[in-house]
Amino acid sequence: MTTTTTLSVRLESDILAARQHGREVAEQVGFSGSDLALIATAISEIARNIVVHAGGGAIMISELDGRTGIEIVARDDGPGILDIDLAMQDGYSTVASLGLGLPGARRLMDEFTIESQEGHGTTVAMRKWIRTQSARR
């Protein structure tokens, strides 16, 4: 059975809460060491993206079947992203930031998809698999 926790993300303090919860789930799933930092950092980036660009949304964190990995889905009803290819480029930013949030999160995770429609929000889904022999897919 897969359990999913949904966290509301609106304020900056929610970013912290989301990445802390993500780290806990990742630990339960069996991730350790540097993977925990990778996952927490990726959550931090997509959560900040919601706070800065959408004003609010939600992050859903689930453990994947048989504790093989973790899935994080971020959903917002913000203005959407006009040009996803552009948004996924390193250094592209519409605000005063490094422009590494989304492309950086993609590099941290094993799977990363982003869907967005102007006026209809953005959904980011990302997964990371446990890298042990027994849990490898």
């Binding site: 900056e12 990445r19 950092t41 949030g101 941290l108």
Partner: protein, 119 residues
């Protein structure tokens, strides 16, 4: 003030206590900038050893703080980046290039005492 700032000899030491909010980062920057003037400080060590994540926002904030302090005449050394955090930063494409770093507080103070220049 959630970031304690201590004066150690001619230098200032700011120890970030765990996950810091944006407002607290901003407050730390203002406080350091003011105290660099008040104490005529030439060097500041920022200890990030308690931070479990250094994302793109935090990285940019540290860079801004170092730039501000540089304009105020002080050199900044970032110390205590944890191994897992360093790995995540590199994987993500973040770095602290242009900023001085050292393993720990002791190393940071030595770096400042020796007057080394950043890269």
């Amino acid at each position: 003030m959630s970031v304690p700032i201590l004066k150690q000899g001619p230098f200032l030491i700011a120890t970030i206590q765990a996950a810091l909010s944006d407002a607290e980062l901003q407050a730390m920057q203002d406080e350091l900038s003011e105290r660099v003037g008040r104490h005529r400080t030439r060097g500041v060590v920022i200890d990030v050893g308690a931070m479990d994540v250094l994302d793109s926002y935090a990285t940019r904030s540290l860079r801004v703080i170092a730039d501000v302090l540089h304009l105020r005449g002080a050199k900044t050394v970032i110390v205590g980046v944890q191994p897992d955090v360093a790995f995540a930063m590199v994987r993500m494409g973040l770095n602290l290039q242009g900023l001085s770093t050292s393993l720990d507080l002791e190393g940071g103070l030595t770096l400042l005492s020796n007057g080394h220049r950043s890269s």
